[in-house]
Symmetry: C2
Subunit: 195 residues, 2 copies
């Protein structure tokens, strides 16, 4: 068995998305890079994002009651990092990053054109956790670039073309995805049969 | 600008971990594959996992007040899928999957030897969300295989060697990581200087 090295209490976590969160409504909108993000329920589909209490994004989310989650492709890693380096109170970060806000379908908060997959969310509740606030949002709409899905079968998102950016927190590294290994709810059936 | 296709409300989300959650204490322990997982606070480091209400893992977490999060390498994708296909009330899934429970440092619940990165968690609260329960756990200890870190600098986890398994939910696909693209809090500095 491998020897384990103790690292103590840590928030190192991977592989995770580095998602672009848009908050607010034109002309007062902002974009922030968030790695503390995940689905928290499927009934209804709900996402959770954790934000530091002093973040401008949190202020705007509270003001408008909604936000959008935008999944970037690997090619956008510099823009994604830029959006995590600076504050939106001082400048229009979307513009500075060369990202294009476009109208959402069910939110007044825009989605990002350059991100292939977008989620529109309405805030349902928030929970204070130390210096962070976990904001939960019901996912009322999702959308994807037309050229990244089989339009005759909307279950078939082409992950290779979406090429979602992978982040490793604490280690602070951006990665691309590599090879498709197998199908969920399928790849393990061999082991199931053996036993 | 690319045309966006509407997919409606959805919990499709990627890239995310497919983590192995161990719950319970020998001889009553279980392993489950969980994709609804993420860090929810850094002060203190806290992870959130969402489980369906009827899951055996939830019952064991409530009974013992702790769980471990085990990040699998890509090579374990079949075992990971197996652990999501079947129920732990009926069999010893760790054994059936060929996974080895070893003692945690601060939890009585074991960690998984074959997973290179492990997190030991004590439950702090839970939140009911539709058919799901979001369980929050303070990360009291983390550990990593000795051969996957620079032991002279414990900040240097070797992600390429850890080779963390990537999951894409709803699409139901396992992927490997590909190439390192750049550094977090670094790669975006060029854009910062330009503006």
């Amino acid at each position: 068995l491998p020897t384990k090295i103790s690292l103590g209490p840590s928030d190192a976590f991977f592989p995770i998305p580095a998602a672009l969160i848009v908050s607010g409504v034109e002309p007062k909108h902002n974009v922030a890079t968030v790695a503390w993000i995940g689905i928290v329920s499927s009934t209804p589909p709900t996402v959770g994002i954790s934000l530091k209490k002093d973040r401008y994004t949190l202020q705007l989310i509270r003001e408008f009651g909604e936000f959008t989650v935008n999944i970037p492709s690997a090619s956008l890693f510099k823009e994604v990092d830029f959006c995590g380096l600076t504050h939106g109170r001082e400048r229009d970060k979307l513009k500075a990053a060369g990202l294009t806000p476009i109208a959402g379908k069910l939110t007044k908060t825009p989605i990002i054109s350059e991100c292939p997959y977008n989620m529109e969310c309405k805030v349902t509740q928030e929970l204070e956790l130390g210096d962070w606030v976990l904001v939960l949002g019901e996912i009322v709409e999702t959308s994807i670039d037309e050229d990244k899905i089989d339009t005759s079968n909307l279950a078939k998102i082409d992950i290779a073309t979406v090429d979602p950016l992978v982040y490793c927190a604490k280690v602070r590294q951006y990665w691309s995805i590599g090879k498709k290994l197998g199908e969920g709810f399928g790849a393990g059936k061999d082991i199931l049969k053996e036993k």
